[in-house]
């Protein structure tokens, strides 16, 4: 069996002393965390260790001795050898570094359970030892992916060796709190954090954030209670709010804020990252929103916008009217049924007429409305975008209506034709067996069926054309809304914080480790350098994307086309679940 010793780089040139660390359970490996220098009092060392153990929940122990010969300390080796009797351990490591040499020498002294007999095989076995050097700071701060408890399947199995190493180093943070330059009873070498001053500021912010969070929580609870009033739970209100993307965005943001402002400390890494991501993206969102406001409310842009908006809607209605006139003629030389064409065209024209008068009724108030609505941007850019999407939806309501009428009519025709076509061939749909059976119809059934079939067939092109034109219009509107929704969703879910972390501190998010062979001297133990393998950007996105109500089209393109063909209503930008509840 090969013995693996994880050795911090900072202790490479430490003075002689005791190795403090942990034997990994079930593995032939030891993690060295620090070196306690000579001179020390064994009792104090033991007490210090037990204190640390209570603090950090890591089974720290004295692993062995470390000798770094210098002038004037010739007798040290024999002394260090004797230390094993003071700190009774099953296994006792003796590491020594020759002066001016790169490699270490290692001796493992094993002791049988209870008996004081020395294992004699310690000396020659240096071939079976691997030194894995690691950077204590990076290992301590990095988070191995997939995070614990993240994957359900991995959570049950016992943690692997590397994970144990990472855990041990991360948990023994209290050990690293003692300063090298403190005048304590013990002198310890390990990684030292620098820049205390910055950490003071961090501490202050932490203190300040507590009442802020409390205030936010209170406000939120107030808001939630307001929302729960029974007036808002009535069916029409709920229906409308579930359709308005502003309201959806509002509830979504409320959820976010509640997560961020919860006074509980983040229990694990994922939750912490989630909070940080939400916080950062919220911050960026609001900043962008304020930027928008500062642009919008300067130089009278609002009123100009309002002046543009009404004529635009008017213009759209005019264009639609012209389109309908064109359809009522002989569009593109198509052979339409004149009577039906006239009926449909007049129906839609009347609709547009209604719409125009509605717009004109609204026009004096538009500027006011825009002014107030624009204020919503101070809640964030996403709100502004959602409001824009809603406005577009409201302004294109007539197109939606046309689409629905056209689709329903067309759908009815298609269904009728398909069943009559079966009758035409002398078949029928067997509901019980879910298949087409042959069937002998009566004469009168056949006669009437054929009559209807002929009528429907000759009227189909007219309906289909109306359906086609209005579906295309509808798709344009939907496309525009979809782009807005996508951008809102992007701002909501993009893990800005994690990306920034990956960019500036790549070691914080580790996908794994990689090893480099440091030295190879025959007869000497193998030295490996353990480096952190940072997470790929794509995996960062995958791990830390904030889950949103995703509004991408759920249907495949083929299914969408099929739906369009048979005339089913499509809501490509809406989640399916919202309609049912």
């Amino acid at each position: 069996m090969v013995l693996k010793i994880f050795f911090p780089r900072c202790c490479n040139s430490a003075d002689s002393g005791l190795l403090v660390g942990r034997w990994l359970p079930g593995q032939e490996s030891a993690v060295v965390l620090a070196v306690i220098h000579y001179p020390f009092i064994p009792g104090q060392v033991k007490r210090y260790l037990s204190e640390l153990q209570a603090q950090s929940q890591v089974e720290l122990s004295v692993l062995g001795s470390w000798s770094m010969p210098k002038e004037g300390q010739e007798g040290m080796e024999s002394f260090l050898k004797d230390l094993s009797t003071i700190f009774p351990q099953d296994r006792w490591l003796q590491l020594s570094r020759g002066a001016g040499r790169r490699g270490f020498a290692c001796q493992l002294v094993e002791r049988g359970g209870g008996s004081a007999q020395d294992g004699g095989d310690g000396g020659g076995d240096s071939d079976g030892v691997i030194f894995v050097h690691y950077d204590q700071r990076k290992v301590m701060l990095s988070q191995l992916h997939p995070p614990e408890g993240g994957g359900g399947a991995n959570g049950t199995a016992e943690p692997s060796e590397l994970r144990l190493v990472f855990q041990t180093v991360a948990r023994s943070q209290p050990l690293f709190a003692t300063d090298q330059y403190d005048d304590g009873p013990l002198k310890v070498t390990h990684w030292q954090s620098e820049g205390r001053e910055a950490s003071i500021i961090v501490e202050l912010t932490k203190q300040a954030s507590v009442p802020l969070c409390a205030l936010l929580t209170w406000l939120l609870s107030l808001w939630t209670r307001l929302c729960r009033i029974s007036l808002f739970n009535m069916w029409p209100v709920r229906f409308v709010t579930s359709k308005l993307s502003t309201c959806v965005q509002l509830s979504y943001r409320t959820d976010h804020l509640r997560t961020v402002s919860s006074p509980k400390k983040a229990s694990d890494h994922m939750e912490f990252m989630r909070k940080a991501n939400i916080f950062v993206s919220f911050f960026v969102d609001v900043a962008l929103g304020l930027l928008l406001i500062s642009w919008l409310y300067r130089a009278n842009r609002i009123s100009r916008l309002a002046d543009i908006l009404v004529p635009a809607a008017d213009h759209v209605a005019k264009e639609l009217q012209e389109l309908l006139q064109w359809l009522m003629g002989a569009p593109a030389g198509l052979k339409m049924n004149r009577a039906l064409d006239q009926v449909l065209g007049r129906f839609f024209l009347y609709h547009i007429h209604l719409w125009i008068s509605y717009i004109h009724l609204m026009s004096p108030f538009i500027e006011r409305i825009l002014w107030y609505v624009g204020l919503s941007a101070c809640l964030g850019l996403t709100f502004a975008l959602s409001v824009l999407s809603d406005i577009v939806a409201l302004l294109t309501f007539h197109i939606y209506c046309f689409y629905v009428y056209g689709a329903r009519l067309y759908c009815l025709k298609i269904y009728g034709l398909s069943s009559l076509w079966r009758l035409f061939r002398g078949k029928k749909w067997n509901v019980l067996r879910q298949r087409v059976d042959s069937c002998s119809y009566d004469l009168d059934q056949l006669f009437i069926g054929t009559l209807l079939f002929t009528i429907l067939l000759f009227l189909l092109p007219t309906t289909a054309l109306y359906y086609l034109v209005f579906t295309l219009l509808r798709l344009v509107a939907v496309l525009f809304q979809g782009v807005i929704h996508l951008s809102v969703d992007f701002i909501n879910s993009f893990p800005l914080f994690a990306m920034g972390l990956r960019l500036c501190r790549p070691y914080r998010l580790a996908e794994g480790v990689k090893f480099r062979v440091l030295s190879e001297e025959p007869g000497k133990p193998l030295h490996l350098m353990m480096e952190i393998n940072p997470l790929k950007y794509s995996s960062v996105l995958q791990w830390y994307r904030t889950p949103t109500y995703s509004c991408y089209p759920k249907d495949s393109w083929v299914a969408l086309c099929k739906k369009l063909f048979v005339g089913e209503l499509i809501y490509p930008w809406k989640r399916k679940g919202t309609k049912t509840d």
Binding site: D444, F447, L451, T454
Partner: protein, 293 residues
């Protein structure tokens, strides 16, 4: 047992066509009796010329029906025939036919009462009458050529898919195709009443006449050839009043169908070479559907 056939010693044991016995012959042994069960032309039927002609008469009379219908439509389109005349004639023929039908049908199977027949007739008339204005405007914007082409296709489909073996009740596809064609044609006529008359006529020709003919063939076999001949002559005569050339063509077609085609069928039977043997898929000759009905 070996794969090598070699000359092999003439064995005393005769070869048998069985697999369950190990025989002293190689696997690829070819016996004298190889392919002795091969049969040729087992199920060839020998046709009698006049029998085939009689059956072919049905095809000819269906063709003549279509021709007669088209002739009537032409007269209507040219306004040389008033819809009321056609309706009257139709009513007369319908009553006559119904009487004949009832007279021939000794036993009333299937439980259709006179009331049901009356109801069906009422439905036909009501729907046709109600829809005729709609039908009138249906093909307005479609060009005449398209309508003609569609009708021609549909009438052809009617002729192809007509169940000549058992014309009653008329097959769904053939009847529907004929009705579709007649709706297309009728919508070209000058007035709504014309449309109505034409559709009624189509119903008589394509739906009810085959039923009557079938019963005639069943109950009074002697009358069938006469009826067919009568229809054919009538249609040729009607067409002749429109265009003599067309009538000539129709007559030639009818003669080919009834006389020449059967002759060819009987003559060409001699050249048939069909291989049969034990490997053929057995055919189920019995009618197994009675177990399910």
């Amino acid at each position: 047992m070996g794969a090598d056939s070699g000359p092999g010693a003439p064995s005393a044991v005769p070869w048998r066509k069985v697999l369950y016995e190990r025989q002293p012959f190689p696997d690829n042994y070819v016996d004298r009796r190889f392919l002795e069960e091969l049969r040729r032309n087992v199920r060839v039927r020998h046709y009698r010329y006049w029998g085939v002609v009689r059956e072919a008469g049905l095809v000819a009379q269906q063709l003549s029906c279509v021709a007669a219908f088209l002739t009537l439509w032409w007269y209507m389109d040219q306004s040389q025939l008033s819809p009321s005349t056609l309706l009257m004639a139709g009513l007369l023929f319908a009553l006559l036919g119904y009487g004949l039908y009832e007279a021939l049908g000794a036993s009333r199977g299937g439980g259709r009462t006179r009331l049901a027949d009356l109801q069906s007739a009422a439905i036909f008339l009501a729907f046709t009458f109600g829809f005729s204005p709609v039908l009138k405007t249906l093909t307005e914007s479609v060009s005449t050529d398209t309508v003609y082409a569609m009708s021609a296709m549909m009438l052809l489909a009617h002729l192809v898919s007509f169940p000549y073996a058992q014309p009653s009740p008329p097959g769904s596809l053939s009847l529907n195709a004929a009705l579709f064609a007649s709706v297309c044609l009728a919508s070209r006529l000058p007035g709504a009443l014309h449309t109505f008359a034409m559709l009624t006529c189509a119903l008589l020709v394509f739906a009810l006449w085959p039923c009557l003919l079938h019963r005639l063939r069943d109950r009074a076999p002697w009358g069938f050839p006469w009826a067919a001949a009568l229809v054919s002559l009538g249609s040729v005569a009607g067409l002749a009043s429109l265009s003599p050339g067309g009538a000539l063509l129709l007559a030639v077609a009818l003669l080919t169908l009834t006389l020449l085609c059967p002759l060819l069928l009987v003559r060409l039977q001699r050249h048939k070479d069909n291989i049969h043997g034990p490997w053929d898929e057995a055919e189920i000759h019995e009618d197994l559907s009675h177990f399910l009905q």
